[in-house]
């Protein structure tokens, strides 16, 4: 019996590269389930990624797919979207790819409010290069480059993107697979810069060094520390300590979308030059 989402896969390329129990396959499936339920025109859908574990996803997906350079998925995607605004462009990126080397592009794309759906597979570690800390590795966590524990403060990616001007910002986790699918659907439907932070377990590198060796350990950690956003707002600061909200954290409707704004600019320029 074929997998219900197989038509969106390059089945011949599976099994994929990710470790047993890695969350990235769960997030990828949530994206495909969202695409399926939205009945997107897959001929007009492009999936763009940078470099890192997450960024291997497009290679397995039966769309127009582009696997770019480290940190640069968003500007590549910007070029695609602006050259052909008709295309729906989904960016797959990781926490390091998006917020370390790619941070400058992330905040500028958010500022422009260009219609990209950016799914950040956040495993709070550099998995592909076997376990260095990233800008979102929690304080005190261990990594191959943080043998004494992470001492740098880390980003809250959602606050960062919301502050830069992104008009749809949401967070989900691989434990909450169905809600994650739902917020990805909303992100895709949203016309503007949509950012979904998908917490995704890395048992091999993050888990092993931080007493969360089994994939389930980390999934249960997500379960025990994530709070639905409507619930979150009722919590006191003390109750919030060590926890984080999931769901749609920011949504601004009808903000000007960059590719649409530029199409209008073209129309104005053409009128003026013909006048």
């Amino acid at each position: 019996m074929a997998h219900p989402l197989e038509k969106y896969l390059r089945a011949g390329k599976l099994p994929h590269i990710w470790c047993a129990g890695c969350g990235h396959g769960i997030v990828t499936q949530a994206i495909l389930r969202a695409v399926d339920e939205l009945q997107l025109d897959t001929e007009k859908t492009v999936v763009v990624s940078g470099i890192g574990c997450s960024s291997r996803a497009p290679g397995y997906l039966h769309f127009d797919t582009l696997h770019t350079t480290h940190g640069r998925a968003i500007p590549f995607a910007t070029g695609i979207k602006m050259a052909n605004p008709e295309l729906r462009v989904i960016v797959v990126t990781g926490d390091g790819d998006a917020a370390a080397i790619g941070g400058n592009h992330l905040i500028h794309a958010a500022r422009r409010n260009i219609d990209l759906t950016v799914i950040c597979f956040n495993n709070t570690i550099y998995g592909m290069t076997s376990g260095q800390y990233s800008p979102v590795t929690p304080g005190g966590s261990f990594a191959s480059t943080a043998p004494y524990g992470m001492v740098e403060p880390s980003f809250d990616l959602c606050t960062l993107v919301a502050g830069a001007g992104g008009t749809f910002v949401a967070r989900g986790t691989t434990y909450h697979a169905r809600p994650l699918t739902n917020i990805i659907k909303e992100a895709i439907k949203h016309e503007g810069f949509s950012f979904v932070e998908a917490l995704s377990q890395c048992p091999t590198y993050y888990g092993r060094r931080n007493k969360l060796r089994a994939p389930l350990d980390m999934l249960y950690w997500y379960r025990d520390h994530a709070v639905g956003v409507s619930q979150w707002e009722k919590l006191t600061d003390d109750e919030k300590a060590g926890k984080f909200p999931i769901g749609v954290l920011k949504k601004v409707e009808h903000a000007p979308e960059f590719s649409r704004v530029y199409s209008e600019l073209i129309a104005r320029a053409r009128e003026r030059s013909e006048a």
């Binding site: 390329k13 582009l66 052909n84």
Partner: protein, 382 residues
């Protein structure tokens, strides 16, 4: 504004007009002297033809956006100078690996580093060839006049489209900021080449398979959004574009993208030759410096000195065949004037070997190489 008569045009402006004539529909760039006029003029002219201008957050993003736009089917260009050219190298290498047609203009200024932003130099000529890592070939063209900034930009796009490769238009601040009276139409209707599109059924399309059109070793390029659902990656890949760790598959791909250009070295070569037939001393020059070389050669001839100019227009791939012929002329010397510490002289010397002395003539820090400097060197070699 398609004026036909003579116009006073700046080199940077002519470059944009050439790009538009070639079918430019996307520009992404970042302000940097002495190339910024190209961005400014694109921001004005592109929307008029339904095209898109993007000022990105940095040069890395600009090169990335150009690659993305080209894969979405647009003819795309960026322009920069030394510091930005350095930042663009990784994604320029991506375009070479993934065989993405695009044009990268580098209006050279004095380096290294911030250098002298408003002063001309030719110090990026080796970077244009080897700036990005790994084995690759690249086509680099160098204009010496405003008219040529126009025509060579069209040529750059045609080569990029035909060979599915990035092409560097290596200008310098002299040509970039120079204003000359030009009649663009005098160039006549220059042919414009578009990339081969796949002719096979969509599900059988291989983005890195054999050619299906004019050239057997250049695969056709579909555009994102046409239903081909193809994969593009910077990882070494097989014919279907998917990554490979198989050395044989990898080798085939690397050899193809290198041979695709190297095997066409003579076909890509372009020169301007002045009184070369009976020359006893030959000046090999390119870009802005070649303007002084032209004058020097004319002055030498006026004094009865048999000097000749070989102005190289396609800098890379290096025109081995033509330069090697200089060995058979029994020359007294070959002079290579450059506004750098001696870069293009190196391959010239490699090819000339011991046939005759190869004399570098170098000036830096924005100091022009004047005709009298070259004339003096010619006389010194007689």
């Amino acid at each position: 504004m398609n004026e036909t008569g003579p116009r006073l045009l700046q080199g940077n402006e002519a470059c944009v007009e050439g790009a538009l004539a070639a079918g430019l529909r996307f520009f992404a760039g970042y302000p940097i002297t002495p190339s910024t006029e190209i961005a400014e003029i694109c921001s004005l002219r592109l929307p008029q033809v339904g095209g898109t201008f993007l000022q990105m957050e940095d040069e890395i993003a600009s090169m990335a956006a150009v690659c993305g736009a080209s894969l979405a089917g647009a003819k795309a260009m960026t322009a920069t100078s030394g510091p930005g050219f350095s930042l663009k190298q990784e994604n320029l290498g991506f375009a070479a690996q993934a065989e993405i047609p695009c044009v990268v203009v580098d209006v050279q200024r004095v380096g290294p580093s911030t250098g002298m932003p408003t002063s001309p130099a030719q110090g990026d000529v080796m970077q244009a060839r080897w700036g990005t890592h790994g084995d690759h070939e690249i086509v680099v063209l160098s204009p010496s006049s405003v008219m040529e900034a126009y025509t060579l930009t069209i040529t750059a796009f045609n080569i990029a489209e035909e060979l599915r490769t990035p092409v560097v238009l290596l200008m310098d601040e002299i040509v970039g900021h120079l204003r000359e009276k030009v009649t663009l139409d005098a160039a006549g209707k220059l042919p414009v080449v578009d990339r081969d599109k796949p002719s096979c059924p969509k599900e059988l399309y291989k983005p890195y398979g054999p050619g299906q059109g004019r050239l057997t070793d250049v695969p056709p390029l579909a555009a994102f959004g046409e239903g081909y659902r193809f994969h593009v990656t910077g990882l070494t890949h097989g014919e279907d574009g998917s990554p490979t760790n198989n050395p044989k598959v990898g080798e085939r791909q690397i050899l193809r993208i290198v041979q695709k250009i190297a095997s066409r070295r003579d076909e890509l070569a372009r020169f301007e030759e002045i009184s070369m037939e009976d020359a006893e001393v030959v000046v090999v020059a390119y870009g802005g410096t070649a303007r002084s070389a032209k004058k020097a050669v004319r002055d030498a001839r006026a004094e009865g000195i048999k000097a000749g100019l070989l102005r190289v227009i396609t800098l890379w791939p290096f025109p081995e065949t033509r330069v090697a012929k200089l060995r058979e002329m029994g020359l007294k010397a070959v002079i290579v004037p450059e506004m750098n510490m001696g870069q293009y002289v190196l391959p010239v010397k490699r090819v000339i070997g011991d046939a005759c002395p190869v004399i570098p003539l170098n000036k830096v820090a924005g100091q022009f190489i004047e005709p009298k400097d070259i004339l003096e060197a010619i006389k010194g070699a007689m």
